[in-house]
Amino acid sequence: MKYKVKLPYFEGPLDLLLFFVKRDELNIYDIPIAKITKDFLEYIHIMQMLDLEIASEFIVMASTLMQIKAKMLLPKLETEETEEEEDPRAELVKRLLEYKKYKELSNEFSRLEDEAGKIYYRQYFKHDARDYYDEEELYGFLKDVSLFDLLMAFKKSFENIKKEEFHEIEFRNYKVEDEMENILDKLKYHKRLPFSEIFREYREKIRIIVAFLAILELARLKKVKITQTEAFEEIFVEQAFDEQESYANAI
């Protein structure tokens, strides 16, 4: 059995450094770099001894600390540039302060979370005359739809496809009427369509069956003609009459 332990208190190297600063009451603007580096490495060492996974961020920080330490050991150049020379710790201090700020703010958020958790909204709304909207309005405007929603919707639509591969027959609300519409629609752009073309994009048996019924129904209503030049040749479906719709072919 393998145990994965996460030391609870240190969310990352900055968190650990802040812990040292607080524990030893260090001046954050004047961190004793040698001492804190030593403590930091010791902590990593303990983690290693405990066989804990050490996040790469800790290793990176360890090397940063050692670099700073080395820089600080270098004799200061007594040149006119001295004034502009930056404290090697400056960048680290800045990061620590920044992180500290948000860490403290998160406590504030935690308090707000508790407070807001005491408030409850109405959750059951039946019988509030919701049925007043008409179906037409259903597809409205975008609002509160973000790119994330869009992307998730895209992903979801493909997940649906995957599912269908496993369940070849799945009940769907295919209506003969809808397919009749679809077929007539297709015939607007092409007066004559091979039978197979009508079913080409359909991957579900049920839909093909529905489409087939639709063609028969259209034929019965004399809205399409079904022709075949020879036995076993392609069967064609064509419009039974040309309306102004044939303009589409010209486009």
Partner: protein, 205 residues
């Protein structure tokens, strides 16, 4: 009693299902001494609660309130009065008007990522007829006709519009988030969020 009345009011108000007298009674009587209403040591009966609800409704009516507690088969719940139905109806109509439906959103997403794309291709992905949705998206100027496919029937091809980009704050289509980018974030399964301590169950306080 005053205190108890407000408690009953709060419970019915916030419940996500209609509540029976028994359910309300049980919540109030639950043996947790510190939760008992001030100095009230006897248990509450269903009849008490029925009376409290009647009192509340009496108060609402006196105040000319737009809502009251109604009793339906499953129990008690708040509802707005029927005379406000037309206003409430307008509210939901407004809300629905402003919302892109899930089917429309999925269709828009497919067009955005696969454009130019024809209706048959969209239908092949979504598995349903999208005539009506395409029409609406066209009307809203979120998509437009960008040409015709070379395939048989030469179906119209759809693509997204400038308005679409503007709404989502994109400069051009190359800025759409890539499925792989989110994949990076979402590839881990649900369990991992617990391992990583994102959600904490702080249990009973």
């Amino acid at each position: 009693m005053e205190n108890l009345k407000s408690i009953v009011e709060a419970i019915i108000f916030a419940s996500d299902t209609p509540l029976s007298l028994k359910q309300i009674k049980d919540i109030i009587n639950e043996p947790q001494k510190k939760l008992k209403p001030n100095g009230d040591s006897k248990t509450i009966t269903e009849e008490d609660i029925r009376k409290i609800i009647a009192t509340l409704n009496q108060e609402y009516s006196e105040r000319g309130s737009a809502f009251k507690i109604i009793e339906i088969a499953e129990g008690y719940q708040f509802a707005t009065l029927p005379e406000f139905a037309k206003w409430v109806g307008k509210l939901f109509k407004e809300k629905n008007k402003k919302k892109l439906s899930q089917p429309a959103l999925e269709t828009l997403a497919i067009i955005a990522y696969k454009q130019p794309i024809s209706k048959p291709e969209i239908e092949a992905i979504r598995g349903v007829n999208v005539d009506h949705i395409i029409k609406t998206l066209l009307e809203k100027r979120l998509i437009t006709i960008v040409g015709r496919a070379e395939t048989l029937g030469r179906p119209l091809l759809y693509g997204t519009t400038k308005e679409f980009l503007k709404y989502f704050g994109l400069k051009d289509l190359s800025e759409l988030p890539k499925p792989s980018e989110i994949e990076e974030i979402t590839k881990e399964n649900e369990n991992s969020s617990f391992e990583n301590g994102v959600i904490q169950n702080d249990g009973e306080k």
